[in-house]
């Protein structure tokens, strides 16, 4: 760091491109969903390396994963990072909610006296911040021109060479790796309710029913994200029904085969107590995964909800009623 600091610049905090073990631990906890709202960076202006008034200014969200992805991608670059107050939310979600937005950006420029820190009037923003920021409005209100950088921070060094993003850099992807990273938090969210239901089923019914609940849930939160592009049909709910059906099938078969002396309709009924309520459970979890993807539209998700939720509810409800009726028959008959 330079020692002859302009008094105006004392509010600028130093940062580096290094990711420490403590940072990695924080990232891991964030991925797990532990203290989701507490992975925050103090909003303000940061100096990376030894920036001069001509150095570029990068804008970031105050979520540690966002900030760290940016600063680590800028290894060897001298520049400023302006962190907006997005309440600990990532760029994309914050832009959707407007906290990574025009107003916050313009106010942060004023609060950090950016006009006095740099001599140029250009800001580099992540492309995924665009849903919250009107570039022409920022220019009008602050004098700064917004330049949208690539979607991924990892492409920044390539971008900076020509200050141009290739079409490839402008596209969001949803790779196997991207989806696999999300599995962790999906499992964490499902773990408690799944365990409670599994234990209850163990007492109310049997081990097979308990295991089936676990299988249908894990199908929804683990298999579904992983297998998403390869499952047939387009809609998430129908994909979920197909996957859930495939997972429920062996349990239904086991239920059918476990009492070979019973009447055929009783055995078929037992099988249906797996085939009716389990696939909608998987499908419901699949539908919820739309919120984590990079391509589902809001009107599409709404159409899915109105089309498939009634089917899920009926299938699930009839399955539960059937299970209760069959166990009553068994109690009366036995």
């Amino acid at each position: 760091m330079s020692t002859n600091r302009n008094p105006l610049q004392t509010h600028i905090q130093p940062t580096t491109s290094a990711i420490t073990p403590a940072n990695r631990w924080d990232h891991f906890l964030a991925r797990l969903g532990v203290n989701r709202m507490r992975h925050r960076v103090t909003p303000g202006l940061y100096a990376l390396g030894n920036p001069t008034p001509d150095s570029p200014v990068f804008v970031a969200a105050n979520y540690t994963l966002s900030f760290d992805a940016l600063r680590s991608a800028l290894a060897g670059v001298d520049g400023y990072i302006m962190v907006l107050d997005t309440r600990g939310i990532n760029v994309w979600c914050a832009a959707g909610e407007g906290t990574f937005g025009t107003d916050e950006l313009v106010q942060r420029i004023e609060k950090t006296a950016l006009h006095d820190v740099v001599s140029h009037r250009v800001l580099i923003l992540p492309q995924l911040g665009a849903p919250g920021v009107a570039a022409h409005e920022v220019k009008e209100r602050s004098g700064f021109r917004v330049e949208y950088g690539p979607v991924r921070a990892a492409d920044l060094s390539e971008y900076l060479k020509a200050r141009r993003a290739t079409p490839e850099m402008r596209r969001v992807r949803f790779t196997l790796r991207d989806r696999a990273v999300l599995v962790l938090v999906e499992v964490v969210h499902a773990l408690l309710p799944m365990s409670i239901v599994a234990v209850v089923m163990l007492f109310l019914s049997n081990l097979l029913a308990s295991a089936a609940v676990v299988a249908a849930t894990l199908a929804g939160v683990v298999l579904f994200p992983i297998m998403l592009p390869w499952l047939p049909t387009r809609d998430f709910s129908s994909k979920g029904f197909i996957l859930g059906g495939a997972v429920a099938l062996p349990f239904a078969l086991a239920a059918f085969l476990r009492s070979p002396d019973a009447a055929w309709w009783l055995r078929a009924g037992q099988a249906l107590t797996y085939l009716l309520p389990l696939p909608p459970l998987t499908a419901f979890l699949a539908l919820n995964f739309t919120g984590s993807t990079t391509f589902t539209s809001r009107s599409g998700v709404r159409r899915e909800i109105f089309t498939y939720i009634p089917i899920m509810a009926w299938s699930f409800g009839i399955g539960i009623v059937l299970a209760i009726v069959l166990s009553l028959i068994r109690v009366v008959g036995g």
């Binding site: 665009a130 849903p131 919250g132 949208y148 969001v172 809609d235 739309t290 539209s297 159409r303």
Partner: protein, 90 residues
């Protein structure tokens, strides 16, 4: 089979376009491309209604019903009959 994602709310009026190219820059799904001096809708079906193009269009040539496409929030809204809240992510 219902295909929930074939339609979306994206609307574009080329008559208002000045060819600045911002829509093509901000779209994460390459829905727009600059064709000569105006933007063109080249892949409207890929639109995820994020609203980046509308927000960054200086002449108001683009309209899209954007918002947080969070199923959980929308299901709660559909069941309770209330207005859709923001995503549970915050």
């Amino acid at each position: 089979m219902v295909r929930a994602y074939e339609l979306n709310t994206l609307q574009y009026d080329p008559a208002l376009c000045t060819g600045c190219g911002m829509c093509a820059t901000v779209c994460p799904h390459a829905v727009f491309a600059l064709n000569g001096h105006v933007a063109q809708l080249v892949y409207p079906a890929a639109c995820m209604e994020c609203g980046a193009c509308q927000k960054n269009c200086p002449t108001g040539a683009i309209a899209v019903d954007s918002g947080v496409g969070c199923a959980t929030a929308m299901i709660i809204a559909a069941l309770s009959g209330k207005k859709e809240g923001t995503c549970g992510c915050s």
